[in-house]
Symmetry: C2
Subunit: 203 residues, 2 copies
């Protein structure tokens, strides 16, 4: 069986990777969206194993110590990370896995899994990103400028990724995400099973 | 400006690469399908520069001598090949170029242009290829078996290509061709123009 493809989808804050991903995943079952682990308490309505894997700090640290996290970080006293085991279970079963993570975590995954396909989502321009952040109307100008600066800092990582998807129209961006994932499946190295069948079991 | 992507589409005889390509090209103008050169005489209705570039043997040999052919071969006393100049004109103008050529020529291009994206079209199985060749009803069984043997020989080159497209349903195969081409455009190395704009002209 062909192994699944590990895809890391990342991008600066406000780039819209979440919207693209939900657009892309609609009605698709052949792709697995990885579930993060955290040590923070579940909020009302959150389901263990669906929203997050809820772990104790001890459990989380043990995973870190045994190389069981593909990436992790600590925010406001809580750990967040991507457990290795479920990801590799799916990959070994031939299922593609998407990790939707922020830039620092993405670069950690790249180090631990050099085979990962790294996709970076970017806004069409800084100007457009600013007007999107302003348009939300949920943040004051100071916060908008802070987020913009952070986004520009994060965007410097772009060159470390394999593919760049510009999020201008979400439909196009979702189609682009599909093109990248489909093209991975078509790579000769991922078609060993087919080649084996054609040459050995079929004459 | 981003350079165009050079794509080599090849496959064993009878794999249907021509049908896939025509399906894919319908209504698309952003891709250039390379025109071959030949020393054979034009047939009625053939237009110079559209069907082929019709060259004298002297002209053709001169191109070979000056590294002006990306690949060439001699069949039945006539030369056939892909002139380098028109291909690179388009690539330099940012236009993707597709070369649809047989297996030997494709491997010549790979040597001369290591940046070429190599796509191999294959039938879903040898059994299916046989039944397609038989189904045409245009060839006797001996010819069918000869073509099958040749196809199987040609298929051994599959591992030297970057991508394999299985031609089961032509619509899916054309969509796969699109996915491969689109994904090349999304590669970070092909997005230099965009990155340059975002980081330098837009704050």
């Amino acid at each position: 069986m062909n192994r699944g493809v590990l895809v890391v989808l990342s991008g600066p804050s406000g780039c819209g990777k979440d919207t693209i991903l939900h657009h892309y995943l609609e009605g698709r079952e052949e792709v697995f969206l990885s579930v993060s682990a955290t040590t923070r308490s579940p909020r009302p309505g959150e389901i263990d194993g669906v929203s997050y894997f809820f772990l104790t700090e001890e459990q989380f640290r043990e995973k870190i110590d045994h190389d069981g996290m593909l990436e992790y970080a600590c925010y406001c006293g809580n750990y967040y990370g991507t457990p290795r085991d479920t990801v590799y279970e799916k990959l070994n079963a031939g299922i593609d896995v998407i990790l939707e993570i922020e830039v620092q975590g993405a670069l950690q995954v790249k180090k631990r899994c050099p085979e990962a396909v790294m996709i970076f989502v970017m806004p069409p321009s800084i100007k457009e990103l600013r007007s999107r952040l302003v348009g939300r109307g949920t943040e004051d100008m100071e916060t908008v400028e802070k987020r913009l600066l952070k986004a520009q800092e994060e965007m410097k990582a772009a060159s470390q990724y394999d593919y760049i998807i510009v999020n201008d129209l979400v439909e196009q961006a979702a189609a682009d995400l599909h093109a990248v994932l489909r093209s991975q499946r078509l790579k000769t190295e991922n078609q060993k099973e087919f080649l084996n069948e054609v040459f050995h079991y079929d004459a």
